[in-house]
């Protein structure tokens, strides 16, 4: 906003105060701007550091350090059905970990996505403002509960008091102490606030005119919300689903505590399973020395996780941008 730059060229000599010359104030302004730019670029540096870390530790080692994928071939990593880095015969097949992640995120999604969307529809279409003012902070609190607490809840409440009575006593299915089901349920609860608040934003941005047009044609409240508002906000809803699933995949502590640490390639949700995130926590617990293959496997698994979540986030952004209906 320096005035001197915008002053049109005059034949008259401008007043001395307007000439751009060195002053302490100007120098200070420049320095501050530079400092703020450094702050803003730190986020880029973070990304570069993440990329650098994965490239050097997982893809191609430098300085005499061999990377994970140089020791374990990518084909073995993606197709081997065993994950046993701790055993003497080491296998590094990501499939069991991927299976655990998909099963738990899937259960979480089946629970969290419909409930979150229904809650969003209720809050945006049905609830009175007063009720909204009560429910929104409560949902924020739900979103703020740390994941260790959810893990504890899965282990000491959901498994013994919900899953065991229903599935073991009534239906006769064995339920392990650590099981994917309890972890999936708490992950579902954890993503409810994410889905709800993002979908609600999308639903509320649908202009009232569309709703009124629907009512004018004789629609009931139900018709308007499900056949007019939800389709109109569809891109936002899909984006919220993708973000929520990506959160479910990256979820660590709840899954680690609730589902246990047994890598298993199976679809039975009542057995113990290990996810990619839980493996990373578990491998770091044993204090694996740097340079060993187990230590490097952390980066291999982390890289995989990073790529999956990044892919889903980018997809969500694309969906938002590409298919957004623009209302004036």
């Amino acid at each position: 906003m320096s005035v001197a730059q915008t002053t049109p060229p005059l034949t008259l000599k401008p007043a001395s105060g307007l000439i751009k010359k060195f002053s302490l104030t100007r120098a200070k302004e420049g320095v501050i701007k530079g400092l703020l730019f450094v702050c803003a670029s730190l986020s880029l540096v973070t990304t570069l550091m993440i990329v650098w870390m994965f490239l050097t530790e997982a893809v191609f080692g430098i300085g005499g350090n061999t990377a994970f994928f140089q020791e374990v071939s990518l084909l073995d990593f993606l197709t081997d059905t065993q994950w046993s880095p701790q055993f003497s015969e080491k296998h590094f097949g990501i499939l069991p970990l991927l299976c655990g992640t998909v099963v738990i995120a899937g259960i979480g999604g089946l629970i969290g996505l419909p409930i979150g969307l229904a809650a969003a529809i209720y809050l945006s279409e049905y609830a009175k403002p007063k009720l909204r003012r009560i429910i929104k902070p409560l949902l924020e609190i739900l979103a703020g509960v740390p994941s260790v607490v959810y893990g504890y809840f899965a282990l000491v409440f959901i498994t013994p008091y919900v899953l065991r009575p229903i599935f073991q006593s009534l239906l006769g299915i064995d339920v392990d102490v650590f099981n994917a089901m309890s972890a999936g349920i708490v992950v579902g609860v954890m993503i409810i606030p994410t889905v709800c608040s993002l979908s609600e934003d999308a639903l509320r941005s649908v202009p009232g005119g569309l709703r009124e047009a629907g009512y004018a044609l004789g629609s009931t409240n139900f018709d308007v919300s499900l056949k007019v508002v939800v389709p109109a906000a569809f891109s936002g809803i899909v984006a919220s689903f993708l973000l929520a699933i990506s959160r479910a995949i990256g979820e660590t502590m709840a899954v680690c505590i609730g589902a246990g640490l047994m890598p298993r390639l199976s679809l039975n949700p009542f057995r113990s399973m290990q996810t990619m995130t839980a493996y990373m926590v578990n491998a770091s617990l044993g204090d694996t020395p740097a340079g060993t293959i187990e230590y490097k496997s952390l980066y291999g698994v982390g890289f995989m996780l990073f790529l999956i979540t990044l892919g889903m986030n980018i997809l969500a952004q694309r969906v938002m941008k590409r298919f957004r209906e623009v209302y004036e």
């Binding site: 730019f37 702050c39 209720y122 959810y150 409440f157 770091s284």
Partner: protein, 357 residues
């Protein structure tokens, strides 16, 4: 008009019934999460106030039952003054409490200036263009990176410093601050500062985005008025824009910090999950600060533990009593988070009412 009303009515009644059922379904879904939250709080609270029932003792032994009654519950005064112990009835979270406090303070010290600075640059200085779009896109991607990846980054960048220092070359840098010296281990290893820096990277996108929104909400008339009075850009930002955006920034910062307090996974990968029987800098109450001011400077380079880590450690203990000790830890953690959330909500409400632009 042409549709005979007779034909429509039975359908209409059914449609309204379906609509009503749908409304109830949605209402139920809304309350589902809140009910789960309630059950969670009740079950954890109940566990935190009781010890497990003693294993079937001979019926006529009055000493056992009276002894159980006299014991204080897991969540008692003792819980805040003891360290972790092999005996679950003596276990407390003193070291974790101070560890979390230090983490919060350090994360706030790092993330507030950097976060607000970035937001100010992006909102006030940067010109619309490729660089700004790139930074924005990068921010939204960083916000979606799982915390365990940040943990890996923290381990690589701060604990090991990208392997710049080889195992046998690990050294201590002595920083001279004129009046005193501080020993800084290089690489940082498993110290508070590594944990704090990792959590800073984790919460930074949240802080930046919240601050950006707060700055965007300040009307441009305030800036223009300030320029008209001859203020420079930085003077305008410093004295007009930031104060006006303060409530929004504070709300965002508090919420981000409350996320940092509850995070366990990043700290775990850094290797903070150890048995720690001291507090950072040997400061375990306020008077220690005056007795041992050097401790304030040494603390960031001490090994540490934090509340969520301590809870995880207790959950993993085989003894049944530790499950109740973990519940007591959870009650403390949730109380802290609840207070911070309430503060954030109150700040938002208070200033929403006061400000009139």
């Amino acid at each position: 008009m042409s549709v005979p009303p007779k034909l429509q009515e039975p359908h209409l009644a059914r449609r309204h019934r379906i609509g009503k059922a749908f409304e109830w379904l949605c209402c139920g879904s809304t309350w589902f999460g809140i009910v789960v939250l309630g059950v969670l709080l009740l079950s954890v609270g109940w566990k935190a106030m009781t010890w497990p029932a003693p294993k079937a003792k001979p019926a006529g032994s009055p000493t056992a039952s009276t002894e159980a009654q006299q014991l204080s519950p897991p969540l008692s005064k003792k819980f805040f003054t003891n360290y972790h112990s092999r005996n679950p009835r003596e276990a407390g979270l003193l070291s974790a409490l101070w560890g979390s406090l230090w983490l919060t303070v350090l994360v706030a010290l790092f993330s507030v200036p950097i976060g607000v600075g970035s937001a100010v640059y992006l909102e006030e200085y940067s010109i619309e263009g490729r660089l700004k779009r790139l930074i924005q896109l990068n921010l939204s991607n960083l916000a979606g990176v799982p915390s365990i990846v940040y943990a890996l980054l923290g381990m690589t960048a701060f604990v090991k410093m990208f392997g710049l220092f080889h195992k046998d070359e690990e050294k201590t840098l002595v920083v001279n601050l004129l009046f005193t010296t501080v020993d800084v281990p290089l690489p940082f290893d498993r110290t508070l500062i590594s944990g704090a820096l990792t959590l800073t990277l984790l919460v930074l996108p949240t802080v930046i985005v919240a601050s950006q929104e707060a700055l965007r909400a300040v009307p441009s008339s305030i800036r223009i008025a300030s320029y008209a009075l001859g203020a420079t850009q930085w003077q305008t930002i410093r004295h007009q824009v930031i104060p006006a955006a303060m409530p929004g920034i504070m709300t965002g910062v508090i919420l981000a910090l409350s996320r940092a307090i509850g995070e366990a996974a990043p700290l775990m990968l850094i290797g903070a999950l150890t048995y720690v029987a001291y507090t950072p800098g040997d400061i375990s109450n306020v008077s220690d600060i005056f007795k041992n001011p050097q401790g304030l400077l040494d603390a960031p380079f001490d090994k540490f533990t934090a509340i969520p880590l301590q809870i995880y450690q207790w959950i993993n203990q085989p003894k049944a009593e530790y499950s109740h000790v973990a519940a007591a830890g959870i009650v403390v953690l949730l109380t802290i988070l609840l207070l911070m959330n309430t503060a954030a909500i109150l700040i938002r409400h208070r200033f929403q009412k006061q400000t009139r632009w």
